[in-house]
Symmetry: C2
Subunit: 130 residues, 2 copies
DNA sequence: CGGAATCCTGCCTGATACTG
DNA sequence: CAGTATCAGGCAGGATTCCG
């Protein structure tokens, strides 16, 4: 990669996340757990309530906001199915598909390190209590 | 791919993010922008106020909470430097270092797609207004 | 079914002051 | 310096209800 901007590469230098770094406004939009989980679920087109069931714990209000935001950012599409009762199916755009990869690696990381993290939590809590 | 657990791999099937998926409690802890930015900044050991300056926009309250949470999850260490005035330096643990990779890919994604996302936002807003 | 509207609570923000 | 404490005000999120 031929660095054309101070933000071209991650790691190494100290300009990471400066106030004007172009990563900031985007991270504000997508770097939250519900966005990540929704994107992952949408690897196959899915309807609203099905997404809601998968993301157990999310409220319909927050899920709606999340899907709207993802749609506005060009990551998913919203298609109304004129049945009765009505259906709405969400699906990834090519842009959204390209995001699944980084998110997937993060997902895989959590699976791989779940035990270690739980252990660390136990240690910390024991130290705090003692 | 030899799936040993229903959660062994990302993508493909439909069990993603079931209520008992071990990814959930961890994502709750780390899948937020401040955690991600803090971890990235801490690729080199950094003191509190320096981190705060890098993560422009964060309040000291939220940053403290974020660092505590990362420390509890075994991702960073907190070292008090007995100078006067006192100093506190945060640094990555090996666990935290292993997280930098996935986060870095996400960071690189935002840099690479910043323009496309901005364009999508403009389109969406224009459609909404029209 | 999908979502908008409503109300209500509570945490976050932002500012400021205080401690070791 | 690195927090904790406090308080005002605002906005996010939960629960519920209603509509196409």
């Amino acid at each position: 990669m031929t660095d054309t901007s101070p933000y071209a590469a991650h790691g190494g230098d100290g300009v990471l996340f400066a106030a004007d770094c172009p990563s900031r406004p985007i991270l504000d939009q997508i770097a939250d757990k519900w966005s990540m989980m929704a994107l992952s679920v949408l690897q196959q087109p899915t309807r609203f309530n099905e997404i809601k069931r998968r993301l157990s714990g999310v409220t319909q209000r927050v899920l709606t906001q999340t899907l709207r935001r993802l749609e506005r950012n060009g990551m998913i599409t919203r298609r109304v199915i004129p049945t009765s009762p009505i259906g709405v199916e969400y699906a990834l755009t090519p842009l959204g598909e390209s995001l699944v990869e980084p998110f997937g690696e993060l997902y895989d990381w959590t699976i791989a390190h779940a035990d270690i993290v739980r252990e660390a939590q136990g240690d910390y809590d024991a130290r705090s209590a003692g």
